[in-house]
Every structure is written in structure tokens, then in C-alpha cells.
Symmetry: C2
Subunit: 292 residues, 2 copies
């Protein structure tokens, strides 16, 4: 009998109306995620893993990119709540706690990835250890005494702070002094890194023989600055990038890249949801993978 109904339903092309079903069941089946941008390997890979795991759990994944704009983040989350999303994942959000508050009001749990918050669980990379390792690797690569620049990232964001902490610690462990001019967290956009490097030309840049670049987008800006100055190929400069792009990895194998373990971050995130242990603010750190 049930089979007959199913067969008939299929023949006639019947399909449930999820809007109606969701309304009656008071369960939308929707899980929402916001993220800064798609056109970057890290975030687009997060998105693909998010979709895969959400579907595997029987959820319908919804994503929106919010361009690191707090107002857009709020608006996007609000819209997802209107569609009765059951969970909100906040990726690289400028203010995860504000998003938590918004969702908590209607009883929807939030989980953070990439950038942590103080009010819900956060799955992030172990930025400190990754930066410590990368810095050591670059110091090893340099002939003679290393003078390394740290460039890119937001000085106020948790990840950049942790990476700077790892950068400093490696210098301490190797007995290398640091002065503050070595550390330039100029923001995340390419033009900012470009301007910051240009400002250093004839003004101390020549004294550096290593660069810790905080993201591929900063790498883009740094490369533009060097290219404009005509010294794109400075073979004695050790270059590391705390980010991953497979094309960069093959085109510029001499650049050491740090790959955040996106698969593990997302499987951890969904394990929290699956097991219902996502309540309570805490930070779960996933070690990144040092390339080459």
C-alpha cells in the first residue's frame, strides 16, 4: 500500500512542499552559513565541505558571503532566521558575539569557524603553532642572520594576533631581536599590503631577507609592489604565506605555504552539531599543515 502511494507519487511527479512541511513540523531543515568571500581557496573550500557535510546530515545548506561587513553579516543572518534556519555557522565574522545574540533571541544556536567568539563554540586553526613553525622554517631558509617582515592581516583580529605571537616566540627561541617596525598588520586587502611595502622601499625594505605574509590576498599586494619596483625575483628572500593556494604552490614552489586543515575543521564542526555538544563557549584549535 505504502509502496503503491510512493509509486503513484513518483509517476505523477508529486513532491512535498518544504515550506508547508517546515511550517507544520516547525523544522525547516535549513542550516545557514555566512562567510566573508567565496573567491579565495580557503573560504570556497570551507563552503564545499560545509555543503557536503550538511547534506550528509540531511540538512539543506544555505550560504551567503558578507564581505567582512558587520551590517551585511547581521542582515544575512536575519534573513536566514526568517527562513527558520536551525543553525547558523559564522565564518570569519567581524563580530560573532553580536550574531550569537541575534540568534539566541530566537533560540537558534550559532557556531563559529575561522574567527572565534566569546559566546559560542569556535573551531579555528591553531594559528600560534602554525606561525611558530612557519617562522622557524623561514629562519632556517635564510643564509646568515634573519631579518623577517610580518605583513598583512587585521591587528585586531584573533588570528592575526596569534600569528604575531607565534612569529615573536620563534624569534625569541632563536635569539633574534624584533623591533616593532618588522610587524605590519596593514589589513586584509591587496592594495594595503602593496602600499605598506612601497612605503618601505628606500626606507628599510632592503634590510629584510625574509617575509611572513599573512594571506594570499596580502601576497598579491606584496608581489605587485615588488613587481612594480622591478625586483620581483629576489632569490635570496625567504617567503612564507599563512594561507594556501594550489596554483601558487606549483607556480612558486619556493614560497612556503601553510594550509589550514579545512576538512578537519568542518568535520569537527559537524561532529559538535551531530552530538549536540555545541553549547558552551570554547575554542577548538585544529593544527594547520606546513607545506614543503
Amino acid at each position: 500500500m505504502a509502496n503503491k502511494v510512493r509509486r503513484l507519487a513518483k509517476e505523477r511527479g508529486y513532491a512535498v512542499n518544504m515550506q508547508a512541511s517546515a511550517l507544520r513540523k516547525e523544522r525547516s531543515g535549513i542550516i545557514g552559513m555566512i562567510l566573508p568571500i567565496y573567491d579565495n581557496r580557503f573560504f570556497s573550500s570551507i563552503t564545499q565541505n560545509f555543503e557536503r557535510l550538511a547534506r550528509e546530515m540531511g540538512y539543506f545548506p544555505i550560504t551567503t558571503c558578507t564581505h567582512r561587513d558587520p551590517a551585511l553579516e547581521l542582515q544575512a543572518v536575519r534573513t536566514m532566521l526568517l527562513y527558520q534556519a536551525e543553525y547558523i555557522i559564522c565564518t570569519g565574522s567581524t563580530d560573532p558575539d553580536q550574531l550569537y545574540d541575534l540568534c539566541a533571541k530566537v533560540g537558534v544556536p550559532t557556531l563559529n569557524i575561522d574567527l572565534p567568539g566569546n559566546k559560542s563554540v569556535s573551531v579555528i586553526s591553531d594559528n600560534y603553532s602554525g606561525a611558530l613553525q612557519l617562522t622557524h622554517k623561514l629562519i632556517d631558509d635564510v643564509q646568515g642572520t634573519c631579518r623577517m617582515l610580518f605583513i598583512g592581516g587585521q591587528p585586531t583580529d584573533h588570528n592575526t594576533k596569534e600569528r604575531i605571537r607565534g612569529f615573536r616566540q620563534a624569534h625569541i627561541e632563536r635569539g633574534l631581536p624584533i623591533d616593532e617596525s618588522q610587524i605590519i598588520p596593514c589589513g586584509y586587502e591587496a592594495p594595503k599590503a602593496k602600499e605598506a611595502i612601497k612605503a618601505l622601499f628606500g626606507n628599510g625594505f632592503e634590510s629584510y631577507n625574509a617575509m611572513f605574509i599573512n594571506s594570499t590576498i596580502s601576497l598579491e599586494g606584496v608581489t605587485q609592489a615588488l613587481s612594480d619596483a622591478g625586483n620581483l625575483h629576489s632569490p635570496d628572500m625567504a617567503v612564507g604565506c599563512f594561507d594556501w593556494d594550489p596554483l601558487v604552490a606549483v607556480l612558486k614552489p619556493e614560497i612556503t605555504m601553510v594550509k589550514q586543515d579545512v576538512e578537519k575543521m568542518l568535520s569537527e564542526l559537524f561532529a559538535l552539531i551531530r552530538s549536540g555538544t555545541h553549547q558552551g563557549a570554547r575554542i577548538i584549535q585544529i593544527p594547520p599543515i606546513l607545506g614543503h
Copy 2:
């Protein structure tokens, strides 16, 4: 009075339930898009523009990546239809016509981007002209007689066919003969391009002085093959890539890249929706932009 209600609603944190609203209004406000993958500049940029324009039109954009898998494409579209999506955008689909049929059954219009179908309107790049220009540019770049390899892409897909047609035409216009071994549409994955190039080593590869690479993913494979062979830097090889990646553009300025005009493609797509002129199968071609 209306203001009082609005104020009270805001104070109490009231928000409509879109599931209920959609059900009653018989309009979900949802517009869905499927695409092959996110982690690539072309598709992620399409997604960002899609979201922006959909929001501007008051729609709620939903995207899903389907890994060029026909079964996943069908399943993703079916799910979007369950949530009563009002339009389905098919990006780079393996079989847009099948998706059209599925949606037509429930009266939902489909529009194609990137790869065209025969049953609904398609907004794609002018692949023929782009390839013609790129091939001419590479012939210009070569010292002496040009022998150019075409590598990457699916020989069955419309875009690759058109690009090969442009490749051939440029050769004809320049009086250069072509033999079939020059054209290797080995598929879209990096390992395929890598294997194809490796198979040519000691077997004709040395006779080429130019390469027309059909995507950044193929570029990745080609670079791996060259790098494994130790001749990564062959300065006399003219290289072009029918795709765009800003990091490649700055890191390897000697590679000529073709940037598909994603903004124009999407604004054209939404113009069709806005004006209600999306009915009727036809192809709208947008000229890509030749770099450098």
C-alpha cells in the same frame, strides 16, 4: 497607527516566518543556482555576483555546488524546487536541458550561464572570439614559426569546442598548418593535463613553443608536469590561459590570461529575469577580456 505596530514589532523582536509567508503568498522569494565548484576564481566570482544581484532584486539567493556530477545536479535542483525556488540558474551544468525539463514540469524557469543548453536562454562567454584573440596574441609572442599546443577541457562541451574553433581559425588566418596532435582536450582536472603533457615528453613536446591552456586547473597540471621534468622556466615558451586568477596574473605576468566578464554575464542574466524576457532558447555571448 501602522508606525506604532511597526515600532512594537521591532521592540518585541517580531519577524515574519518566511515559510508561512511563502506558503500563503505562493511565492518563496528564493532564487537558486547550481555550479560545478566554488574553489576557483571564475565560479566563486559568479556566485558573489549572483548573490549581490539577487539580493538587490529582493530575492533570497541559494547556491549549491554539484561537482560536475549529473546526478548531484539533478538532486540539488530537485531540493531547490522542494523549497519552491522561483528560478533556477544552471552554471556550467553537464546537462542543462535535463534540468530544464525537471523545472518546466513544475513551471519554474531555468537560465543557463557558462555552458549553454538548447531549451532555455544561456548567457555565456564569446569563447570563439576570445580563443581567436588569445591564439593570435601567442603567435605574435613567439619568435619564428609558432607551433602551439591546445590543452585541457572537455571535447564534448560547447565552450571547449568553440575555443578550439577559434584556435584553428587563428592558425588559418596566419597561414599556419595544424595537425590533430596539437589539440589535446584531455578533460578539466589537473592530473589529466599533467599526464597528457608527460606523455608528450621525448615524444614531440620539444617541438612546441606556445601553449593555449584551457583553464587554471589545466595550468596547474601542466605546471606540475613541467616542474617534475625540471624545466619549469622555459622562457621561450609563450603561454596563454583561457581563465583568470589574480594571483597567477601577478606571480606569472608572462602568462597571458583571458578573463571572462563575470559582472556583465550576471547583470545580463538578471536583466533577463527583471524584464521577464528569459523565455525562449537562445544564446547570449559576452566578450571576455584579454589580459596584458
